[in-house]
Amino acid sequence: MTIGRDEVEHVARLARLRLTDEERERFTAQLAAILDYVRKLNEIDTAGVEPTAHVLPLRNVTRPDEVRPSLEREGVLRLAPRADDGFIMVPRVIE
């Protein structure tokens, strides 16, 4: 179960990363080495072990349904690389 170039390319596409040929080669080798290392976890029997997604036993953390001030629109739009007429602009999206 080792990672190949095609899989690296697939993962890069999922992550929206465009790789150069050189990067693809390098990442393939490096990820293969790292995955080979992390597979040592298979030495451990985890049958019946609950996964830990959160370390604290916190539950049901909520806030009251109250409106708080929003940001000034000008500030939000100023952060954006491109904005027009109150909207943040991106190349046309085709559905």
Binding site: M1, I3, E7, V8, V11, A12, L14, A15, R16, L17, R18, L19, E23, F27, Q30, L31, A33, I34, L35, Y37, V38, R39, K40, L41, N42, E43, I44, T46, V49, E50, P51, T52, A53, H54, V55, L56, L58, V61, R63, L71, G75, V76, L79, A80, P81, R82, I88, V90, P91, R92, V93
Partner: protein
């Protein structure tokens, strides 16, 4: 005496007693930054003028008899991944070019409320991904003890700034050792609080289930003071624990008589440098001399910590960093052909190789067909590691280990092989995965004159015990008083 030799609490006390003004002290820090930072590169931005203005204002308030906060007039630096309103928060990444935070992180808000002056932002590994501050897009930070060596990472800028007397204390962030390891490599003290102790609101996420903000300073008392200021419940962070850390500084001097210090053999195994091991073993002996009981404990899943960590942390990171896509803020690739082009090129140009590598790894371990084999498996091993600690803490009150397997390594030494770099976190990662508090304090020097760190870990929310033990050790030794040599003047200009 050079005022920059004052620790945080000494400076605060001197200001309260009229021995020094905030303006004088802040100016001395800024002068020190001007002189040494061109060599060390600890800061990415210094707020010189504003800091001096704030210092003058603090002096004026003090003169008017206004009661100041615990840190009134004291300058503190903040890592580049913590938001302060109106300031950049760059995470040492090109992709956040031009991003100005519209709000304060809770930790920054609390620093300000206590009267602290934010002196500037410190360098780091890009998005806190690294153990040497070499992945920064803002250039490397150098170790004040040897500028040809790394300061550790990812909070390398904060640790170097504190070690080099540029500032008495700084906030860092720790996901797998990013406060403790650079503190150890730079010969200063650093605390990773219990997960949930310090609000993460305003901390730019790397791996949300592991990230914690914590202080780096030149004394344990300073760490206690800072944790009292920045810690405590925050309604804006769902993972923030109830309650507030109180009386930490006050409880420091109670000594460690009867305290049980656990020593896990797994942390002294192959890979730990002989000099480091000797220093840490000697410091455990010193704690015994101070009245502590030393017991052997086992943490059997330690050999799996790095593997577990690099799955959990990268999985979360792949999702946390998806938002950097050129749409709403930061970098956008020029003239995108269409939306996929905008996404892919912005991220290709804006993110460095280590960040890309981790995003790739994290995406892979969550992807269809691999999720259970890698991600879910790692979460289960994480459970076993937490159980290890629960059992060990049945037999002891603190656990003592090296902070890092080696002293500071040379710049460039580990950049070619990511796995070797990952293994430099081998001693710190376990506490991160278990969510428990851990501290690093100076405990010796190698023959080459490089600092070595002692790591102590405690049960969740027992920072009091941890700080007390570290303080007792610190007070019985003088490693923390050593000062790195002044650097030869750098070529080129300042920050």
């Amino acid at each position: 005496m050079d005022p920059t030799d004052l620790t945080l609490h000494e400076a605060a006390e001197a200001m309260r007693g009229g021995g020094i003004s905030s303006r004088e002290y802040t100016a001395a820090c800024l002068e020190r930054v001007r002189r040494v930072d061109p060599v060390f590169g600890a800061f990415v931005e210094v707020y010189g003028e504003e800091a001096l203005e704030a210092a003058v204002a603090a002096d004026r308030r003090r003169a008017a008899g206004e009661p100041g906060g615990a840190l009134a007039g004291v300058p503190v630096a903040v890592k580049d991944n913590i938001c302060a309103a109106g300031r950049r928060a760059g995470c040492a990444s090109k992709i956040l070019d031009g991003f100005v935070a519209p709000y304060d992180a809770t930790a920054v808000e609390r620093l300000r409320a206590a009267g602290a002056i934010i002196l500037g932002r410190t360098n780091m590994d890009e998005f806190a991904m690294g153990s040497s501050t070499e992945t920064s897009s803002r250039g490397v930070t150098r170790n004040p003890w040897d500028p040809e060596r790394v300061p550790g990472g990812s909070s390398g800028g904060s640790a170097a700034a504190v070690a080099a007397r540029e500032v008495p204390a700084a906030l860092g962030t720790d996901t797998g050792g990013s406060i403790r390891q650079p503190a150890a490599l730079c010969g200063v003290a650093g605390l990773k609080p219990t997960y949930g102790r310090v609000s993460r609101f305003g901390l730019v996420a790397f791996a949300s289930s592991l990230d914690q903000i914590g202080p780096i300073a030149r004394s344990v008392r300073d760490l206690a003071l800072l944790l009292e200021v920045i810690g405590g419940h925050d309604g804006r962070d769902s993972t923030s624990a109830e309650g507030s850390p109180r009386g930490l500084a006050g409880g420091l001097d109670r000594g460690i008589e009867g305290l049980r210090v656990g020593v896990p053999e797994e942390f002294f195994a192959a890979g730990v440098d002989g000099e480091v091991r000797a220093s840490v073993e000697a410091s455990v002996g010193r704690m015994r001399d101070l009245g502590a009981a030393v017991v052997g404990v086992r943490l059997p899943h330690t050999p799996y910590a790095v593997a577990t960590y690099y799955i959990v942390a990268t999985a979360e990171a792949s999702s946390n960093l998806a938002r950097y896509d050129g749409v709403q803020y930061g970098l956008r690739a020029a003239d995108p052909r269409d939306l996929p082009d905008l996404y892919e090129r912005t991220r290709a140009e804006g993110l460095g190789p280590e960040v890309k590598r981790r995003i790739m790894l994290g995406t892979y371990v969550l992807s269809a067909g691999y999720h259970d084999a890698y991600y879910l498996k790692a979460l289960k091993v994480r459970t076993l590691m937490r159980r290890d600690f629960e059992e060990a803490f049945g037999r002891c009150d603190v656990i003592a280990t090296p902070t890092a397997p080696t002293a500071a390594f040379a710049l460039g030494e580990k950049t070619a092989d990511p796995l070797t770099m990952y293994l430099s976190d081998i001693c710190t990662i376990s506490a991160s995965l278990a969510g428990i508090p851990a501290i690093s304090v100076p405990c010796g020097f190698t023959a080459a004159g490089l600092p070595v760190g002692l790591q102590l870990m405690a049960r969740p929310f027992e920072e009091g015990t941890l700080l007390r033990a570290a303080h007792a050790y610190e007070q019985a030794t003088d490693w923390h008083r050593r000062r790195p040599p002044d650097p030869a003047p750098a070529r080129g200009g300042g920050v």
